[in-house]
Assembly symmetry: C2
Homo-oligomer: 211 residues x 2
């Protein structure tokens, strides 16, 4: 799938812990029904075979909604599963190497915490940036904080679009106004919500008013 | 030079005919002083050696203002001159081939008149799009017209940014509001003006209010 700017408006990152005892696929489906525009499967403790199997199932669910599925970290698993792309850290395998192996229509997202990292990601052939943590994150307590001014500086240093990430909730997202991002990436704001579908709808509505 | 979104705000394309008997370099310098953010050297009737020589001189002028120099059509001449990039037509050598030869930090702009062309340009590794003609153009009378709705559709089909081009003047640019472009590319609106510097200043101010 070719990435469009609007795919980045409301980017949901899965979190099995936040979903808890609820049905995982039903939670994903509720997020998609609520208007999530991109889904990232993030599983830190799954072996590759299991990850491929999981991603294969989610690709079908996502594509029924016209939404790309991105796999965290493991681009080989993403390719094997027929997922749309991968998201890698600033210190992970460079985008250029993945691009060479995966071809031109595979989506590559790269984390960037500085303009220099953003420029390196763009020149390596990344399609979008993940920039954060813009707020203290309950899921990544050790993450370096990025102010809205720094977010704006990073966005302005390149042409590829960015999603802001890290502790974003309906209550604090307004603080990102003027940050220059194409959208927001959220974890618990959607998957820890009692009503996942409504939480996604509410976030999307607020983003449409803000962008 | 790494392309930033703001480089596309006011993109001037040279036109020796519009500059007329005035000094060419002085006209370029006036445009840069007026706030042009990117310069494209377009010379349709120059042999390659002459084009390289011309581009080499302009690179120095542009870089003194932190502005990238893009050469129209001829990427080999652009590379030989140390220019920052090339702009090619939708039907010209595909971005992917140029990218392979020119490396990751060479800027590639591609004309796109449809979402399909925009997607092909993005997947080929283009850094930005030129989309037009948004108005009847005095310099390209045969150019196909693109409505603002079509411009918006093309911009929304990809993540790379676009400049609108074709007959844009201070008097009609407001009609592009909502088109989703990162900036405008102009020829005669700057280089046919009696006061090139003021014309550029005026266009830039209007763009900053519009974007």
């Amino acid at each position: 799938m070719t990435l469009k700017r609007e795919h980045l408006l409301l980017y949901a990152v899965t979190d099995r812990h936040a979903i808890g005892t609820r049905d995982f696929d039903a939670a994903i489906e509720a997020a998609l029904q609520g208007g999530v525009t991109c889904l990232q499967l993030r599983e830190k403790h799954m072996d590759e075979a299991e990850l491929v199997k999981e991603a294969k199932r989610l690709v079908n669910i996502c594509h029924a909604y016209g939404v790309p599925l991105i796999v965290n970290d493991n681009w080989r698993a993403a390719l094997a599963a027929g997922a749309d792309g991968v998201h890698v850290g600033a210190e992970d395998t460079a985008a250029a190497e993945i691009r060479k192996a995966a071809g031109s229509d595979f989506i590559i997202g790269t984390t960037a915490k500085t303009p220099a990292q953003a420029i390196a990601a763009q020149e390596g052939g990344s399609d979008y940036l993940g920039v954060g943590a813009v707020f203290p994150s309950p899921t990544k307590t050790d993450a370096k904080r990025i102010t809205t001014a720094q977010l704006s500086e990073i966005c302005r240093s390149v042409t590829i679009p960015a999603v802001a990430i890290g502790g974003i909730q309906a209550e604090n997202m307004q603080e990102l106004y003027g940050g220059g991002m194409a959208g927001i990436a959220v974890v618990s704001a959607i998957f820890a919500a009692a009503d996942i579908r409504s939480a996604a709808q509410n976030l999307k509505q607020k983003m449409l008013e803000m962008i």
